[in-house]
Amino acid sequence: MTLREFGWPELQFLVFSVRWTVLLSLIAFAGGGALGLVVAACRVAPSRALRRAMDAYITLFQGTPLLVQLLLVYYGSSFIGFTPDALVAAALTFVLNTSAFFGEIWRGCIEAVPATQWEAARALGLRYLPTLRLVVLPQAMRLMVVPTIGYMVQIVKSTSVASLIGIREITRTAVMVNTVTFEPLQVFGTVCLVYFAICYPLSVLSDRLSRRLDRTRAGGLGDVFRRTRAARRQYGHGFTPG
């Protein structure tokens, strides 16, 4: 048997399989975002039991590998009486996992809103949920944008794990194409570029936005050396910075 060449059809097949990666990412983001809001709301709720329960939920998802969670849901669903469907298992796992991470990220943003806001709303007679929805969340939203976009990069990357239960997203397709062509550098290099093309703009965006929120940041330490060197060239060696 001869190997296939890594030509145009293979490249096309590989690159277009990214639609499953995008689909899984969107499911994880939308589902995980909605559920994550609930998790975050419970995490700062007045009820201590609820807070504890959500803390345990978050610890569970942050303390075990995504792959193990995925396999647990995949095999678990078959044993509890459902037919194991890779796509359903993957969607469910990603939604639950993402909700735990978003819950924890957003809790931090909510807690960064001054406690006086809660007290003021309470004084006006608002109860917990209206306070959160009308007073605190709109203010926390500003802080939530940057880490949320940053976490979207994690979501896109983590969908590659779904390839291990047989979902033919781009990583799985790459393994298949690599098996028939054995051109690993071209195959996995292409896949890297595709992921990079999705993730890098998100990283840059989150970086830019965070810099805008934090205007005070000055130039790097490298600049101190560079400026001193330049000044010494100009004013002679006796120059001291400051």
Partner: protein
């Protein structure tokens, strides 16, 4: 439909699980040490080296951070042997995990370097110290100390991330669990136990790093 849990055949194999857990910790530890050593060099060169070097390191960091670990694993596992480097699964796994951690740790250490008060650096320059000595004596020490907690959590992430190397048939806890699953067919129970083991390791190391941070740097507080 009711499902009867049977943990017996799995718990009988506890020495295998223990072995797998130790392999996971070993893999995480090796890749963290190697990755850190690389990261210190990369971070210093990125902050203080010539522009092209800094740019190259920046490109490396962004490339690693914006592609999945699994793809990086496949890349190392398939490409390097084809290029003539003999590499078994475990070595490929350690290499890919180290290269991955190096990129993240570079960013963490660089944040520590850049957080050095510029007054300290300027004081060093005024005293006539050369750049190398300023970096070594004034900047690097406090920077490494301030990033210790972040590096601790990076080690924990490394434990979790190492579960992926079972995909290239390297040996660690998830791979061991896969084998046990094939022997016992108690898939669900196997991964409950595996998940519990990972959770226990992660929680234990979190406590360990919090404690060591407190005792190692007590003088600095």
């Amino acid at each position: 439909m009711s499902y009867v849990f049977q943990f017996g055949p799995i718990l009988d194999r506890w020495p295998l699980f223990l072995h797998g857990a130790l392999l996971t910790i070993e893999l995480a530890a090796i890749s963290t040490f190697v990755g850190l050593a690389i990261a210190v060099v990369l971070a210093v060169s990125r902050s203080f080296g010539p522009r092209p070097v800094a740019w190259l390191i920046g490109a490396y960091v962004e490339l690693i951070r914006n592609t999945p670990l699994l793809v990086q694993l496949y890349l190392v596992y398939f490409v390097l042997p084809k290029a003539g480097m003999r590499l078994d699964s475990n070595q490929a796994a350690a290499l890919a995990l180290s290269a991955n951690l190096a990129a993240y740790a570079t960013e963490i250490i660089r944040a520590g370097l850049e957080a050095t008060p510029r007054g300290l650096v300027e004081a060093g320059l005024s005293l006539g110290l050369r750049k190398g000595r300023i970096i070594r004596h004034i900047i690097l020490g406090p920077a490494l100390r301030s990033v210790y907690p972040a590096l601790g959590s990076q080690f924990v992430l490394q434990i979790l991330g190492s579960s992926l190397v079972s995909a290239i048939a390297a040996e660690e806890l998830t791979a061991v669990s896969n084998n046990i699953m094939m022997e016992t067919f108690r898939n669900f129970e196997v991964f409950i136990v595996t998940g519990a083991l990972y959770l226990a390791m992660v929680l234990a190391f979190r406590v360990f790093f919090a404690q060591t941070n407190r005792s190692l740097f007590r003088w600095a507080a």
